[in-house]
Symmetry: C2
Subunit: 325 residues, 2 copies
């Protein structure tokens, strides 16, 4: 009655097949289903590059808080609980579809960045084709984009929000190798070298990212040297940073590493005030969370910074920069 063309499926498995076949504008999905449950459907659709940008709404009787959480955290776009109002459902659908419209504007934004990226407009058109609306995904805070071991799909461009890239050490400890946000690219190393991700990508806050498919990315690079050059510069400066970090990890004391990490974060955020969890700080500086806590308290004592909750404000940057070892 609302004018939508609807395709139905009897269970999760069939639903996924149908979705891949027909590529609908939106998926509405129950959780408790035979063959494959709703979480499975969401997982599979997210995994598949063809379908991972299709909004998905859960419509289910599972009303427990944890169920809702789980669904949202896995990347569902909405969560309706049975019994439901028809108005409610239609509103949710409209809201999702209009959000997708908004992304089209986003897309123009993203494109602008891409065209700026290649100063000489060679290849800009190609890049335009690369950044397809379909490839834009929204991530919730804490949502995982890919895990270590997942097969690579391509290179990602952050349109908004922040994404952290981490690596697991053998004994399970986490190390943050990078934080990326608006207009930055990540996943290049994995996509270009290995077929498998060696790192995990997780959204640090609500973020939207855009996938440049590997083959197409490769093609554009081969065709348009000036774009390739930009990426070479990007990679080269990243190597310098990492070398610098290696020296720091090797020889600097916890105090100095903490100071350096704080400065690095303030540079990433372009602000001396920022929010970050102690765990993330620990994973960036390669130390224990407790030690982070202690060191920050010390720094506060010494009037180098101010902190309330997870918000940190650097006060005495010069002193932090010249922290003795």
């Amino acid at each position: 009655m609302a004018g939508y063309a609807v395709i139905t499926a009897a269970d999760g498995k069939i639903g996924v097949e149908m979705a891949i076949k027909h590529l609908p504008s939106l998926v509405i999905c129950d959780i408790m289903m035979p063959e494959l449950d709703g979480y499975g459907v969401l997982y599979l659709l997210n995994k598949n590059p063809k379908t991972n940008a299709i909004p998905l709404i859960f419509l289910t009787a599972k009303a427990e808080r944890t169920d809702v959480r789980k669904g949202m955290e896995m990347g569902a776009d909405d969560y309706l609980i049975k019994p439901f109002d028809d108005i409610e459902l239609l509103k949710a659908i409209e809201s999702r579809l209009s959000k997708k419209k908004q992304q089209e504007q986003f897309y123009t934004q993203g494109l602008k960045k891409l065209t700026e990226f290649s100063k000489n407009s060679d290849g800009a058109l190609e890049l335009k084709n690369l950044v397809e609306l379909k490839r834009i995904r929204n991530l919730k805070k804490g949502q995982i984009l890919y895990y270590e071991g997942d097969t690579t799909q391509g290179v990602y461009l952050v349109l908004s929000g922040k994404v952290k890239i981490s690596k697991l050490s053998e004994d399970g400890r986490i190390f943050l190798t990078g934080i990326y946000h608006t207009d930055e690219y990540f996943g290049m190393h994995d996509a270009l070298v290995a077929k498998i991700h060696l790192e995990t990508a997780e959204a640090m806050e609500e973020a939207s990212i855009c996938l440049l498919q590997k083959e197409q990315f490769d093609e554009v690079l081969s065709k348009y040297p000036n774009i390739a050059m930009q990426f070479i510069h990007l990679l080269a400066s990243s190597i310098q940073n990492k070398d610098e970090q290696l020296v720091q990890m090797a020889y600097h004391s916890v105090r100095k590493r903490m100071a350096e990490t704080l400065i690095r974060i303030s540079e990433i955020n372009k602000n001396t005030i920022f929010k970050i969890s102690r765990d993330d700080l620990a994973a960036m500086a390669g130390m224990a969370t407790e030690t982070v806590s202690r060191t920050l308290s010390d720094f506060k004592e010494e009037n180098l910074l101010e902190k309330k909750g997870s918000e940190i404000q650097l006060i005495n940057l010069p002193k932090l920069q010249n922290m003795k070892n």
Copy 2:
């Protein structure tokens, strides 16, 4: 009488000017001179990209061992002591010039690598012009190619031998960020990003390297995308290695780091037997030399490796790889 065209200069300063102006095939130079001594001449000629591949012979009364050492270590190609035989001098000259001829063959070798490098032969010709005979330099063990803070000249290709790249931490400790040998490129990061070297390059053994000038390198990359792609891959995989190393530095015990470093070296040398000083090992693994010594002794106890002097032979690779933390 031997048929050489000779240009003379009254002192070191004039000598350098003449050398830069006329670009001779060979320089013969005294050490004790007014205005600028021989070491200064050698330093300046080595520094200048136009003259740094010209062979230089010291011909001097300074006969002390340390003088000879100093001269040779700074990169002189020969050292004759006054009073000298004319035969002796002519032999030295011939030997140097013929060595330069040999380099022409080397040059063909280097070129082969370069053309192989770009599978599709696009741009091979350009690269050929890049690798000019003039740009090939021979380095003695321990000789410094550039220091942190020197201005960059371009990208280097190792033709033979090994070159180590190191970074100084603020308190003067050294960290090895990489070891490069035959057919590998280094100095890219510095040349492409900064105008100044952020790392020090030193020959670990007799080595010969070839300089690809920055502007020309840039041009070739811009013109020939497939070559650029190769470098992108190179850089990307280097980033992965460094990320891996960062995790190791952050969370692994000295024992584990030592094991990983040993394996890395054996992979670089493609051999389980290799020679390396404890200092270099320490600088690679980011620990104290004494600790390296101790750990190696432990490993020997456990039959993981054999060592005599600075030669190490890995015996139980699997156990080293699975070293517990």
